[in-house]
């Protein structure tokens, strides 16, 4: 079979034909199998060994016609658990590659076969789900009503190349990491709001003429908690991966602009606060640059609140 396929390459159309390496590994299943049931796993890869995601793998029991299908993940792997022992026909379909069909492979309850296949790429297939997939679809009708005919247009008819239709797992991983970090950023920001409000509220008893040391200590402690949480929040935003080629548009621009106010403010406020704290403890009236602690803190808290609202409420 390999010779036959590679023979096609020699007679192929240069520039249009490229080759796919499809490695179907029926490795022993790592998942516990039920007694008497077999499993079938494998990996779909292209010629360079890169995983092919979103390939549809369909197994059909030669014994009873039962069909099951699966889609490969970002690492190109698929898995069928709980397959009754017997002979199966295997079909692999992926956009931009020719369909691979393995006429017969045997699944046993206790052992599995290993089959390596190489396949020539070709015209993109119509992205039709298999019959088994159809049955598992939401809103799936009892019969396939939109099945493609020989004349049905394909993605290539629309000028969409296989490369454009092919997924980019690396970019997806980048987006996943970005979203994960920004989710933490969002939650931390919400948590930070609580001590921030408490700090502002306790400032009334901390800075007036008739204030106690206990009030100032409470205000200072809350301010310190706010600062710590704030910088943890900022860390997750700053370290979240950037997506190349993305222009910042919409409310997120305002959200980011506010960071240029509350960021320096969150550094300056505690410095001024410490100065004011020391002056107060020395029995002095807060004076000089330390007297800016309150106004700077208010501006900082205001910018923080505005940043939060800008991405929370639609204006």
């Amino acid at each position: 079979m390999l010779r036959k396929i590679f023979g096609n390459r020699d007679s192929g159309v240069p520039g249009l034909v490229f080759f796919v390496c499809l490695v179907v590994a029926f490795a022993p299943s790592l998942i516990a199998q039920t007694a008497g049931m077999g499993a079938l796993t494998g990996r779909v890869a292209d010629a360079t060994g890169n995983a092919v995601a979103n390939a549809t793998v369909t197994v059909t029991s030669i014994d009873n016609g039962q069909i099951r299908s699966a889609t490969t993940g970002t690492d190109g792997t698929y898995k069928f658990d709980g397959l009754p022992p017997g002979k199966y026909r295997l079909k692999v379909e992926a956009v931009g590659f020719k369909t691979l069909e393995i006429p017969s492979t045997t699944v046993r309850g206790t052992e599995t076969a290993v089959v390596d296949e190489k396949l020539e790429s070709g015209e993109p297939i119509n992205e039709k789900p298999s019959a088994a997939q159809q049955d598992n679809l939401p809103n799936a009708p009892s019969s396939i009503t939109t099945s493609s005919s020989a004349t049905a247009p394909s993605l290539s008819d629309l000028g969409i190349s296989p490369e454009q239709a092919q997924g980019n797992p690396r970019e997806q991983a980048l987006l996943d990491k970005r979203t994960h970090m920004l989710k933490i950023h969002q939650r931390m920001g919400l948590i930070t709001t609580i001590p921030l409000i408490a700090t502002v509220a306790t400032s009334i008893n901390a800075g007036g003429k008739n204030t106690s040391t206990a009030s100032r200590d409470l205000h200072t402690a809350l301010g310190a908690v706010t600062g710590d949480l704030y910088f943890m929040t900022a860390y997750y935003a700053i370290r979240a991966p950037r997506v190349p080629g993305t222009e910042t548009r919409g409310p997120i621009r305002f959200h980011k602009a506010m960071a240029w106010i509350h960021g320096p403010g969150m550094i300056l406020t505690p410095i001024l606060g410490i100065m004011a704290f020391n002056e107060k403890n020395n029995g002095e009236k807060v004076h000089g640059i330390a007297s800016a602690h309150g106004p700077v803190a208010i501006v900082t808290a205001g910018a923080f609140g505005a940043a939060l609202l800008s991405v929370s409420v639609k204006f």
């Binding site: 939109t146 980019n168 910042t248 991405v311």
Partner: protein, 179 residues
């Protein structure tokens, strides 16, 4: 001589008996998804869909494809989250397939069975109503696909720990012309 004329006539007449194929091309389109959140009502629009219909023997097979990244909600951060949550980098193209009778082009309404591939999943929507309006040789189609996030196994994104609603209707506004 008469025999040659007869053969020529038969050969010329054959295509008429075989039925001629025709094609439709998507000229312009707006696809708009709508997402609801207690604090937000967001919409993302794409004008980048491509489509083609091939008619044969009284039936037309249509394919519409649009890049996930082409949807614009007016906020780049939200768009990136949308691409992430719908696995748009892994599955960059949304496809919609349907088969309609050729005679539907002259109707005022049509109910279409749609097969949509999105986010690595396929969902079918039966008898989705669309309005048709013929303007010269062009046909203007409008309607709403009652899509939901769960149809495509999309984990509903959340804002301030509140999740968006499952419903994600997609408004369709397309102009087709025969090729």
């Amino acid at each position: 001589m008469n025999k040659k004329i007869l053969i020529a006539f038969v050969l010329l007449a054959l295509p008429a008996f075989g039925g001629s194929d025709s094609q439709w091309v998507l000229e312009q389109s707006s696809l708009t998804y709508h997402v609801s959140h207690p604090l937000h009502e967001s919409e993302g629009v794409s004008h980048a869909a491509r489509g083609k219909g091939v008619c044969h023997a009284g039936e037309c097979d249509f394919l519409i494809a649009v890049a996930v990244k082409s949807f614009d909600s007016g906020d780049s951060n939200r768009d990136l989250h949308m691409v992430q949550v719908t696995r748009g980098a892994e599955f960059p193209i949304v496809t919609v397939r349907t088969r309609l009778p050729e005679s539907a082009a002259t109707s005022a309404t049509v109910n279409a069975d749609l097969e949509i591939q999105f986010a690595g999943q396929t969902a079918q929507y039966k008898q989705v109503p669309f309005k048709l309006e013929t303007q010269g040789s062009k046909t203007h189609i409008t309607g709403t696909i009652p899509a939901t996030l769960s149809d495509f196994k999309i984990d509903p994104p959340s804002l301030l720990t509140i999740r968006v609603k499952n419903e994600m209707p997609v408004r369709v506004d397309m102009t087709w012309h025969p090729q």
